[in-house]
């Protein structure tokens, strides 16, 4: 599960990116002339006040949105040029998302939720089951596999979310405020898990957060203010 690319090769290259949203007759510049490089294997934190554009940046990197101007390159693919259809397939292969509100499907059990991304592959049922078991074991939730989300605590749900994000062995993990809805203890467990994934398994992680406690776990933190990178702090 380790990433083989050398550490100084940029996995993610964001170049001169602008993002403008049109609200009625107004034009809102969410990101302006933003350039960022993320090497493979890095644990990066994106911080900034609300409205600074950090989630938007995350969405651009994850192929959920396209920049108004500029380029976004991930793992050598120019994703700003891909069609919606191609982007979907690309996301399935390369990205694992972890959301603030977990975004689990309530009518599916934990293991079925984790299995979701695998349904898009050509793996057999037995193979899928194996991957799911591995992912759930990695997040420590093997005994809760058959539970529905409504019977899991917040921390457990987020762990299922992480298991779902890693089950396809994606190139990149994108986390949007993963501890935002959790108490301190549960939040720490999640951050431990993310760090372990980064250190022991070499997963490249980009995490949006406004909690300095969380960003302290990352190797590098960049700050966004009003759509522009303002400062950088490396540990």
């Amino acid at each position: 599960m380790s990433d083989q690319t050398p550490k100084n090769d940029a996995l993610v290259r964001v170049d001169g990116v602008e993002k403008i949203f049109h609200r009625g007759s107004e034009d809102i510049h969410v990101l302006s002339n933003l350039t960022l490089k993320v090497p493979a294997g890095e644990f990066l934190a994106l911080m900034g006040p609300s409205g600074s554009g950090k989630s938007t940046l995350l969405n651009l990197i994850g192929g959920l949105d396209r920049p108004t101007q500029g380029t976004v390159e991930v793992a050598g693919d120019r994703i700003d040029r891909l069609s919606d259809h191609a982007l979907a397939a690309w996301r399935a292969r390369h990205i694992g998302f972890v959301f603030q509100l977990y975004n689990l499907i309530p009518v599916l059990t934990a293991e079925r939720n984790v299995e979701l991304p695998l349904l898009l592959t050509s793996l057999t049922k037995a193979q899928r089951r194996k991957h799911v078991e591995t992912a759930l074991a990695m997040v420590g939730l093997s005994q809760r596999a058959a539970h529905f989300p409504r019977t899991l605590s917040g921390g457990e749900q987020q762990r299922v979310g992480i298991a779902r994000a890693i089950v396809t062995d994606p190139t990149l993990l994108l986390c949007d405020e993963p501890t935002g809805d959790l108490d301190r203890k549960a939040g720490d467990e999640i951050l431990n898990l993310l760090q372990a994934l980064n250190r022991e398994h070499g997963k490249t992680i980009i995490m949006v957060t406004h909690d300095p406690h969380a960003s302290a776990r990352a190797a590098r933190t960049v700050h966004l203010t009003k759509g522009q990178l303002t400062s950088e702090a490396v540990k």
């Binding site: 994850g62 959920l64 979907a88 975004n103 499907i105 599916l108 079925r112 991304p117 349904l119 898009l120």
Partner: protein
């Protein structure tokens, strides 16, 4: 199917709503089944008509009788293979409500003309040997519990106005599922002899059925027959059996249109109800659909999931409804005798199945398209 859990889970999400929608669809398709059977009962005879048979009746009116002597002349017309006559007996068995057709016929000719009536050879022999013998169709025999050997009294207000008692010597079955097995046939010689007492009607019959040698020549033969009797006291009108039945059906009214209109209204209503339910179901799940797209499901796949869900709903409900209708219809005519031909034609059953699928696609399509049109990031916000 690998996506089964997702689809099934969604339907189980609001069990009551799913159940109620399923039930409305079920009821609509039960109605569909019944209406098709009713339509078939009223006008279905048309498709059963023999392609090689023509009906010859009095030109002026169906209630006018034709001479029995016409038969020989008819059979000499080129293109005519055989002729057989029937006469409307108009009898009542116990109560006018127990309506079924009775006709005096010449046994050998008649059974040869109508091969769809199947009579075992020993019963045919018994009929030929018994002057007062009669055969009756399976449906009517079962309806009144008649067995071979029973004496059946029938009162005819037209002929003699006294009860005629027939000896039941045979029960005939239908060759096809649709064959009408409600009629009773008895011997013409007994009929003609007995009506001497009445002073009128002797030697007269109601109508003829003729078989043509070549069905492609049906129209020419019809014209030739009518020409043969053109200047006789009783002129004839000859037409293919199908046309005759169609004209009869037309007299009942534009049943096809009425049934189609009712069904149209019903399905429009169901479409609204189911469509509204599906729209709501999808709207509640916009966020989840966004998550699926974020994970990498394409628009096409999301569309497919929603359609699979709506189709599963309509096919289950519709399938159950059609099944229930088929069962209920198999129990027989709900009007007690006015619809002798009462069953659900296979063609209509297939049409019903097709409608289930169409309903599923229509009700799922619009909400599905709406869902896919939403940008992933906006959808995620609605989680």
């Amino acid at each position: 199917m690998r996506f089964f859990h997702l689809i099934w889970g969604n339907l189980k999400r609001r069990k009551l709503r799913t159940a109620l929608t399923l039930l409305s669809i079920l009821v609509a398709f039960v109605l569909f089944g019944f209406l098709c059977a009713i339509k078939q009962g009223l006008v279905g005879g048309v498709t059963l008509a023999g392609a090689d048979r023509l009906i010859v009746r009095h030109k002026v009116s169906i209630i006018q009788l034709l001479p029995e002597a016409y038969q020989a002349r008819m059979e000499r017309v080129p293109g005519v293979a055989a002729a057989a006559h029937q006469t409307w007996f108009g009898g009542i068995y116990q109560d006018p409500k127990n309506f079924f057709m009775q006709c005096p016929v010449v046994p050998e000719q008649f059974m040869a003309m109508f091969p769809e009536f199947r009579l075992p050879p020993e019963q045919m022999k018994a009929w030929r040997a018994t002057r007062t013998g009669a055969i009756v169709g399976r449906k009517t025999a079962d309806r009144f519990g008649w067995k071979i050997g029973a004496k059946v009294p029938i009162m005819s207000p037209i002929w003699l106005r006294k009860p005629w008692v027939f000896d039941l010597v045979g029960i005939f079955e239908g060759r096809d599922k649709d064959t009408d097995t409600t009629s009773l046939f008895f011997r013409y010689d007994y009929f003609d002899e007995s009506r001497k007492a009445q002073n009128w009607g002797q030697g007269l019959v109601g109508w003829y059925t003729i078989r043509v040698k070549d069905p492609a020549q049906a129209a020419e033969v019809a014209r030739a027959v009518d020409q043969e009797f053109e200047n006789s006291p009783a002129e004839t009108k000859t037409e293919p059996e199908g046309a005759f039945i169609q004209a009869w059906a037309n007299q009942i009214g534009n049943i096809g249109l009425i049934v189609a209109s009712i069904l149209g209204a019903v399905f429009f209503t169901i479409l609204l109800v189911t469509g509204s339910t599906m729209s709501q179901a999808v709207r509640e799940r916009i966020g989840e659909l966004g998550v699926l797209k974020a994970i990498g499901f394409t628009n096409g796949q999301v569309l497919g999931l929603v359609l699979a869900e709506s189709c599963l709903l309509t096919i289950s409900g519709g399938g159950l409804g059609l099944g229930l209708a088929a069962l209920a219809i198999a129990r027989g005519d709900p009007t007690g005798g006015l619809l002798p031909l009462f069953h659900l034609p296979t063609a209509d059953l297939l049409l019903g199945a097709g409608l289930c699928v169409a309903l599923g696609v229509l009700t799922g399509l619009f909400p599905a398209l709406q869902a896919t049109r939403l940008r992933v990031v906006d959808a995620l916000r609605r989680m």
